[in-house]
């Protein structure tokens, strides 16, 4: 028998950096041998993944060596959409880009729209756009999960994923809603494994029972868009049984604040306040309205008090109780709409009550609250929740997310043992958040502050002097989408094409596949990008695009700035941006070039700083006009957003001894590399829970520059800013929405969250479109990026439409058949697969598997292009026309979040076919033909 070498040589060196195969940002050990990547594994010490790594992460080799990598800057030679380019030098590319941008900045900075997609450097890209002076910047949050982030920040100063997580160690019940499996991916799997070990019940709420829902103990196969109604029924049940934590509500929420009852007046529905602005409560001792911070006040949660002047007021909590105790929200009354039986809703409400109130968790750790009261121990209600895009990507998503947070707060489970836990730098309530900026856009001048913020009322909107016309190209922070804290990337191209509110000169995008899977109405967007005006010029005159790969969007740009792969670049996974902290530690991380590029590519962030210096943008050049930063790495070390605060929090100060606050340290990146690519600083024991009210937390976070001082954080069961918008819609304020938006704002901006049917279904005859259609993210593929990956495409190379068995039977469909799926906007032809473990009214498929022929260096007849398909062709960025001539965005009316999952369809059997429709002309590939076979690692075997 031949001897087996059981101890072979493995690698020359291990370099520890940060993964970018999805948005999770795990720590990875990259093993290098002979200058090549031998293999990639998870970093055991890393706070995000603790050693494990998902399928995408392990497939990083194929991403890094992909034949679809762009190799040089490109200038378009053919027509837009053909994919014909000539290679140009970086000098020429940067000269052209700078000349285009300089002209815009000098004439009208608004005519630049700079939007980034799967950007992990928004702290830089946003600052760059601010220094440029255009109001038109955002990343992809508007078409992703802005409802979740915004509802959470307004309600309690946190949200899920980067903002907070379940207390996996102590929770006794876990509810998982509509999760995208590339968001917080490994931490959720690690957490589920932990819950399984502990025998904790997991409830999955999702129309589709794949992935995490497959291992859940109980599955709620909910009808898309009705999660808010289901949660409202849970709240109804808990209220009916008195299963709410009144002590918690009195201490940490606005449950006792008085709401003014003064119908028809300008203050009706606002919070009653004293002359100092302090909210008033009904004091049970004196039966009078007194300031909520009066030392001996005993607030009531119900009752009525006369405020004088004919006004009276009632505590928030009584209004809340009356709202959700309404029989409309009884489980039996919501069952038909949600598809969840009353028995199941009632059972889950009982489980929540039982875990919260009969299995209380105690941590024997004294702590002191911000009012100075000492608590001997930390007591928690051990029910935890995680939710993501599934409940968020609807036109009722903001209020649905609010309802979910109300549930968490009513049982007292925010930042308590066993409940939801904030991750540093969160909590960051509205009091500590900026307002939006962009009103004062002037030639050759920066904006006065960051674009994205949190309006407190109509006065914070970004409107022209007429009080109506949006300032931003995406109509963010306008009456169309007042709280659009992440912008509306899905509306940029459509609005620019329609010159509504105005046309653009330069569209500048990064890592966003808008000519394919990142757009609604994909075919329409391709036409908008190629459409010309009467003079024969493109309606969107100049398009600059940066991507690492030959994506569909490359073909629609004029100038391509090729980015590096994730193993060739610097990035700061920054606390100023989208942090990777854990509840017990503030964390950030470095991505650095573990491999040197072998092509004419440059990290986009370095290119952006180069362009900024060429344009002389403030903060990017010194007094002599010379570049301040050599490249992005230099910026990461030396840039200070505020004195002492920079992109990375670890090893600051000249000798690296400072944390959070400190002068730049020239050796900072070396310290990160020595530490495995990340920094972690643990929260002291007494600051680990009740961070919204914890004095030790406030001191610790302030010392580290996470906040400037203690921030008041009263959880907002009743959201007064929404009431201000309603008052404007009712005509009570100087500012008023245009007539056509008044009803929309009045009906949906309720300060206590309500459920309303998603817009698309409400506007259509659902007899014609009886079914829902949604996508799910496969755990082994990230957006479009995975398709050129030789390994991942063998796992997900096609995407059948999964059809509930009863729908198959009604339509005469069998496995392998083809079907037409028809929405009010379009029709696609797709292959069908029968399925049982799915909501009976819901069709679904995997997201972003379908590819345009010719893109991504795949064969034009690759299964991704032949049988793969997008649902995007069925979804319009506009709602079905109302006959009023207006362009109604297919978005949440509060935040502008793209309502991807509102889609309504019908299905019909199609004749046998061999390819999906629609089909488009194959793109010319800007890269060389790929090799036929891959035999990776042959030199080592």
């Amino acid at each position: 028998m031949a001897g087996v070498e059981t101890s072979p040589y493995v690698s020359d060196e291990v370099r520890q950096t940060t993964c970018y195969m999805c948005a999770c940002r795990c720590g990875i050990n990259v093993h290098l041998r002979d200058g090549k990547v031998r293999y990639i594994e998870g970093n055991r010490d890393h706070p995000v993944n603790r050693g494990v790594l998902c399928a995408k992460g392990s497939a990083g080799i194929m991403q890094h060596y992909s034949p679809a990598r762009l190799t040089t800057p490109l200038m378009r030679t053919g027509e837009r959409g053909e994919g014909k380019f000539r290679p140009i030098s970086w000098d020429e590319a940067l000269d052209v880009a700078a000349s285009w941008l300089r002209e815009v900045r000098h004439s009208d900075p608004r005519k630049l729209a700079f939007f980034t997609g799967r950007d992990q450097s928004q702290s830089l890209t946003g600052w760059w756009a601010q220094q440029f002076g255009t109001p038109n910047f955002a990343a992809h949050g508007g078409f992703c999960s802005v409802n979740m982030a915004t509802a959470g920040i307004y309600t309690f100063g946190g949200a899920f994923w980067e903002f907070g997580s379940p207390d996996w160690e102590r929770t006794e019940l876990f509810l998982l809603f509509g999760v995208a499996e590339d968001h917080d991916s490994n931490p959720i799997k690690l957490g589920l494994a932990h819950l399984k070990e502990r025998g904790v019940k997991v409830v999955g709420v999702n129309p589709v029972r794949t992935g995490y829902n497959a291992v859940a103990d109980e599955w709620v196969g909910i009808t898309p868009g009705t999660d808010g109604l289901f949660v409202a029924s849970l709240i109804h049940e808990l209220l009916r049984a008195g299963k709410v934590d009144t002590d918690y509500l009195l201490r940490y929420t606005n449950a006792a604040w008085l709401v003014i009852d003064n119908i028809g007046a300008t203050d009706h529905g606002l919070i009653a306040r004293d002359d100092n602005g302090t909210p008033l409560v009904l004091d049970r001792g004196s039966s009078t309205a007194r300031p909520s911070d009066a030392p001996d006040v005993r607030p009531a949660l119900k009752g009525r008090v006369d405020l004088g002047d004919g006004r009276s007021a009632t505590p928030v909590f009584e209004l809340l109780a009356r709202t959700y105790l309404d029989p409309r929200y009884a489980p039996a009354a919501t069952a038909e709409e949600t598809g969840v039986s009353a028995a199941q809703t009632e059972r889950i409400a009982r489980d929540i009550a039982e875990a919260a109130f009969e299995r209380t968790v105690v941590v024997e750790q004294p702590w002191t609250d911000l009012k100075g009261e000492r608590h001997e121990r930390m007591v928690g209600r051990p029910v935890s929740v995680h939710a993501m895009r599934g409940i968020s990507a609807h036109s009722n998503g903001f209020q649905t997310c609010r309802l979910l947070h109300l549930l968490q707060i009513l049982i007292g489970s925010i930042d308590v043992p066993g409940g939801y836990r904030f991750k540093p730098p969160y909590p960051r309530p509205i009091a500590g958040q900026p307002r939006p900026h962009g009103k004062e856009s002037h030639a050759d001048a920066p904006l006065s502050g960051p674009h994205l913020g949190f309006p407190r009322g109509p006065e914070d909107l970004l409107l022209e002097d007429d009080g109506v016309t949006p300032i931003r190209i995406d109509k963010g922070f306008s009456w169309d989408a007042p709280l659009s804290a992440h912008g509306l990337m899905h509306m940029v191209i459509a609005n620019a094409h329609a010159h509504d509110p105005y046309g653009l000169d330069v569209l500048f995008m990064y890592m966003a596949n808008m000519a394919w899977n990142s757009s609604m109405n994909t075919g329409g967007v391709m036409e908008m990008l190629t459409d010309r005006d009467d003079s024969g010029a493109y309606r969107i005159p100049k398009i600059i695009y940066s991507d690492a790969y030959a994506s569909e969007m490359v073909a629609y740009a004029d100038l391509i700035l090729p980015d590096t792969t994730y193993l060739e670049r610097h990035d700061a996974i920054s606390l100023l941006d989208r942090p990777i902290s854990e509840p017990d530690a503030m964390c950030d991380a470095l991505r650095w070039p573990v491999c040197e590029p072998d092509r004419e590519v440059r990290g986009f962030q370095s290119v952006l700083l180069d362009l900024g210096a060429r344009l002389g943008l403030p903060g990017m050049v010194d007094d002599a006009g010379e570049p301040l930063y050599r490249d992005y790495a230099d910026y990461i070390v030396n840039h200070q957003r505020k004195p002492g605060i920079g992109p990375l929090a670890g090893w600051r100060g000249p000798d690296g001894a400072d944390t959070g606050r400190g002068e730049p340290n020239p050796d900072q990146l070396d310290r990160y590399r020595e530490n495995g690519g990340f920094f972690m600083d643990h929260v002291p024991e007494e600051a680990r829970y009740f961070k919204h009210a914890n004095a030790a937390w406030a001191d610790w976070a302030t010392a580290r520059g996470l906040q400037d001082g203690p921030v008041e954080n009263v959880f907002q069961l009743y959201l007064e800013p929404l009431r201000r918008f309603q008052l404007a819609a009712e005509g009570h304020l100087d500012l008023a929405p245009p007539q056509h938006l008044k009803a929309q704002i009045r009906d949906h901006f309720t300060p206590l969250p309500i459920w309303y049917p998603p817009f698309e279904g409400a506007r259509l005859d659902t007899v014609d479109y009886p079914l829902h259609a949604i996508t799910q993210r496969p755990a082994a593929m990230y957006h479009s990026w995975g398709s050129q990956n030789a390994w991942l495409r063998q796992i997900h190379g096609t995407n059948p439409l999964f059809v509930p068995a009863e729908v198959c039977d009604a339509a005469g469909l069998e496995d392998g058949d083809w079907a037409f799926v028809i929405s009010s906007h379009g029709r696609i032809r797709v292959p069908v697969q029968r399925m049982h473990a799915v909501n009976g009214k819901t069709l679904w498929t995997w997201n972003a598997i379908g590819k345009r022929a010719g893109a991504w260096s795949l064969s034009p007849e690759a299964p991704e292009a032949r049988r793969g398909f997008l649902l995007n062709h069925l979804i319009n960025e506009l709602l079905p026309p109302r006959g009023d001539g207006r362009r109604w965005s297919n978005s949440d009316p509060i935040t502008g979040q793209a309502a991807w999952f509102d889609l309504r369809v019908r299905i019909e059997k199609a004749p046998p076919a061999d390819h999906a429709e629609p089909r488009f002309t194959p793109l010319a590939s800007p890269v060389e033909k790929p090799p036929r076979n891959v035999v990776y690692g042959s030199e080592w075997t």
């Binding site: 087996v4 059981t6 794949t210 105790l325 063998q794 399925m835």
Partner: protein, 246 residues
């Protein structure tokens, strides 16, 4: 024909937890990336960017839908690789001795120098756990990462199969199933670990832990689980509660 050892000193193998496997394919790809640069020929991918991509994999996940009579449909994710059987029919069928089972630890391997690519072993394996490499034309199978588990060049804690090292759901466990005191044997005993298709008599070393019964099966009568109404109605309850708080 090739002989099996009468007894192996150890029975190294995997215990796979079907209750926690979410079907994420982490193990599948980690296996591929370690092994394509490790034991034997690389794991080739034919037509890698073309119309019919086909690669060699040592571990794959199959997903099955089941429809119980007393509850909603369920999905089970089922990772499958070589089970390193005690009575491995893939070994006894091998005409050249290329397929063999190690007497020291029970790992079933292919000596690729002796493999003539006849494919008999893949035909004999009832689990479909062997794959002919479409590029290299040699038989590939799980080696239990024999080039990791004893490897002095990697840290001791990493000397486990790549699939076990990476599994984010902690659904894969590695150890000696001949030792009743080992963690994996204890896990099998505690959770009712099962052989795959035991009637075939292959005596697989790998074990599968079955999914636990779902809570939404047999979910009871409509109102049995309902919370009782608060005494005095909700607002009455609220008054009493606030009085208690003082």
């Amino acid at each position: 024909m090739t002989a099996l050892p009468a007894l192996t000193e150890a029975k190294l193998g995997l215990v796979i937890d079907l209750d926690t496997c979410v079907g994420c394919h982490a193990c599948v790809v980690s296996c591929k990336e370690w092994n394509t640069g490790g034991y034997g020929a690389p794991l080739g991918d034919r037509d890698a960017y073309g119309d019919t991509p086909e690669g060699a994999w040592l571990n794959r996940i199959h997903s099955y839908e089941i429809s119980p009579e007393n509850g909603p449909a369920e999905i089970v994710h089922f990772p499958k690789s070589c089970l390193h059987c005690d009575d491995a029919p893939c070994v006894t069928v091998c005409p050249t001795g290329a397929s063999y089972k190690r007497s020291e630890d029970g790992i079933v391997l292919v000596d690729e120098d002796r493999c003539i690519g006849c494919g008999l072993c893949a035909w004999a394996c009832p689990y479909g756990a062997r794959e002919m490499d479409p590029v290299e034309k040699v038989m590939k199978k799980c080696t239990l990462c024999v080039d990791r588990i004893y490897n002095d060049n990697i840290p001791e804690e990493d000397r486990v199969p790549a699939c076990v090292r990476t599994c984010p759901a902690n659904a894969r466990h590695f150890g000696d199933l001949a030792d009743p005191e080992s963690d994996v044997s204890q896990l099998v005993a505690a959770r009712g670990g099962m052989d795959l298709m035991p009637a075939l008599g292959t005596k697989p070393v790998n074990k599968y832990l079955p999914p636990r019964r779902k809570a939404d099966r047999d979910s009871g009568t409509p109102h049995a689980d309902r919370l009782p109404d608060a005494p005095g109605g909700f607002l009455g309850w609220l008054d009493a509660t606030l009085d208690r708080l003082g």
